[in-house]
């Protein structure tokens, strides 16, 4: 089977394997993290055709011929994505293990709703756990992008 990962064509064999395992162990895209294995923590979030998907519970067969974006695919021309930059500016992390999933969930939210309200943002991100509790800063980063007009 074929799929596209960060703009490149790749082929995969076992349709039952998780997208997470394939990305990390076969492609070496380790920015996508394992956190819970049941789609509860959001650390493994990737975008599939721009929608957030929990790669730990998604079999490869379900993403055949689709476009996957991981954290490694967000930069363009050496420029950080505005959400990545906002996370840097807000210091929106402690250990940073949840950060990739958080950023991709924010990217997807802003893609659908460029100016989410506070409640909408919390709802959209509620499936992403930051055990260190950097939640206020993550919301601050999101707000800075949604109000800064930097997001295309």
């Amino acid at each position: 089977m074929k799929l596209r990962v960060n703009g490149k064509d790749v082929s995969a064999q076992d349709p039952d394997r998780s997208v997470l395992e394939f990305l990390r162990d076969d492609l070496g895209l380790t920015g996508t993290k394992y956190g819970c294995g049941e789609g509860q923590c959001g650390a493994c979030t990737v975008l599939v055709d721009r929608s957030p998907v929990r790669s730990c519970i998604t079999p490869l067969g379900a993403v055949a011929d689709r476009e996957i974006t991981t954290i490694e695919g967000l930069e363009s021309d050496g420029q950080l994505h505005p959400v990545q930059q906002a996370f840097l500016d807000a210091g929106a992390m402690q250990c940073g293990y949840c950060t990739a999933g958080m950023i991709l969930s924010c990217v997807s939210l802003l893609d659908r709703h460029p100016h989410p309200g506070e409640e909408e943002a919390r709802r959209a991100l509620n499936g992403n756990v930051c055990r260190c509790g950097a939640y206020p800063r993550i919301l601050q980063a999101l707000r800075s992008v949604s109000t800064g007009g930097r997001h295309a």
């Binding site: 380790t30 293990y97 709802r123 206020p136």
Partner: protein, 706 residues
Amino acid sequence: MPERERYELLEKPAYHFETERRDVLKLFAGGGLLVLIPHSAAAQESGRARGAWRGEPLPDAVEAWLHIGPDGRVTAFTGKVEVGQNSRTALTQAVAEELRVAPGQVEMVMGDTARTPFDMGTFGSRTTPTMAPRMRAAGVAARQALIELAAQHWGVNPATLEAADGCVRDPKSGRSAAYGELTHGKAITRTIGKEQVSRPRSESVPKVNARDIVTGAHRYPSDIMRPGMLYGKVLRPRAWDADLVSVDVSAAPKTGGATIVRDGKFVGAAAPSVSAAARALASVKADWNTPAGPSNSEVFDYFKRNPAGPAEDAVRSGDVASAWQQAAHTVEGHYTVAYIAHVPLEPRAAVAEWTPNGLTVWTGTQRPFGVREELAGAFGLDVKKVHVLMPDCGSGYGGKHTGECAIEAARLAKATNRPVKVVWTREEEFRFAYLRPAGLIEVRGATSSDGKLLAWEFHNYNSGPSGLATPYEIPHQLIAFHPTRSPLRQGSYRGLAATANHFVRESHIDDIAAASGVDPLEFRLRNLKEPRVRAVLEQATERFGWGREKSGPGRGFGLACGMEKGSFVANCVEIAIDPGSGKVRVRRVSTAFECGAIVNPDHLKNQVEGAVMMGIGGALFEAIEFEGSRITNPALSRYRVPRFADLPELSTVLVNRRDLDSAGAGETPIVTIAPAIRNAILAATGKGLRALPLAPAGLSGANRPA
């Protein structure tokens, strides 16, 4: 003197290799090696404890801590590790400030047993009070050496020179030499004496490696890849102390390249992929014998009936029994605290690789030198043959002190002669990592007719002794810790037992204040002398607007304060109770925190607010459920942690005491949020809850607003 860590007293090994069963060692499918592990579990355990506290003396050579390259870049070395508390940045600041270079000029090598000085481990909030001054002293000594080098070179009095921006300057002549030009990459052969170090500048330097985190480039322990690496999994029972009775590997798949390794009670598989390793293990049939034990509802009674040693008096002053007779008001309470899990978002992970010279392991641990010793013990190696590296990992919170995952990876790597990665699943992390101890605490307090505390008796069963002593002025006290057996594996957790002891103390203070008819803030101020506790209490209440509004049905205000590990904290909390579900929501938290001179205000705020957020979980809903030693909710879908929906409006006051030495801040801000929430529920409902978590399923009908 640093406090003894709980895990040393309480933790039992998760499993061990058994030497007497060497004769059954057998390797199935795929071929490979037989491995002998000449070390008993008992020796491993005592070896670990010895290793943790043996404490090789800190080297006093500058070069052990700092090196200046020919390009002027500074490399600093510390055995401390980065688990999200931003110690990498804080220690970088310490070096950069004393050496007078930009933080970006400093690279901090951390927790690498081959390159950094020995360190017991990153726990007990010791990095800031002990390691930062050491790095500063090394920085000062190096700076003085550089100035003297330049002075010799120029033939001037060193006292006339100054160091700034990575250069030594002569203000008179305008000459300047970069550090790299002075040392040419050679070692600075100085010893560290009693250097006069500076207070931190309290600058909010951004996290030094944040860019690698937002791009996904940072390699956490679970991200390490090695050429030819296999993936390992370990056969697990459902209870951490279950004993392997029999195992049958005859159904192991002949394809897929998996190697099944059995050594005593250890059964694992290594394969070219995680899924292949999992498939191989799924074919193994095993019988386990699980010891019987109490459930989560029975455990508090169990603690009372199963002492593990004599009671340890923490405080005994005056005569509680006779004071009791003269009391105006007395309140007795019986409190419980549940086992909770750290849930570091990155589970335990290790990559092990055997080389002709020994063993190299990359692993997420707060004690790389301790893990080195565990590995040396498990495989009968000299510690010098074992190299442990700790890449900045996905958090710890006191939960990553042990090296079982590293041993598992090394065991499989040895059998397959290939590097092997083992990453625990979330279920393994719940079942086989250690937990914050549960506890039973019995307390009674008495006041005299003037609203002053007269007597205080406090007995903690199993939680631990941290934070037992009360900051309140009480003439008659009896405070004791009672070690007990534990049906679950338990150990350190952020703040240790200070959370349990503060929960009970500060809850009970509110109950006594209520019985005495005194406002909770007034009662505390009346009984507290410690000016630093009073200061944070006053700051938190002022920021919160304490007393401006009254609690009532469905809405309550509570506060709590305390001190631990040289830091001081107070929280004011507003809660709301949902009339339908009885769910308690924390709406607003004001925190005042003081830890001496602030190193990095932005990171301190992040740490304090994160601790409050994490503390809300343990306060309201986190609890491990179990039947005997079998945990019945070992999944994030069944163990609730705080999420965005739980985030209150946070307002944080950082008290910067630049006149005082810096204390650590990773732990103490978690200790008073639970009693503040509890006291807010008391204010709203009149019901003084006495169990953590307070309201996992919401408050009962009688306590919900109409």
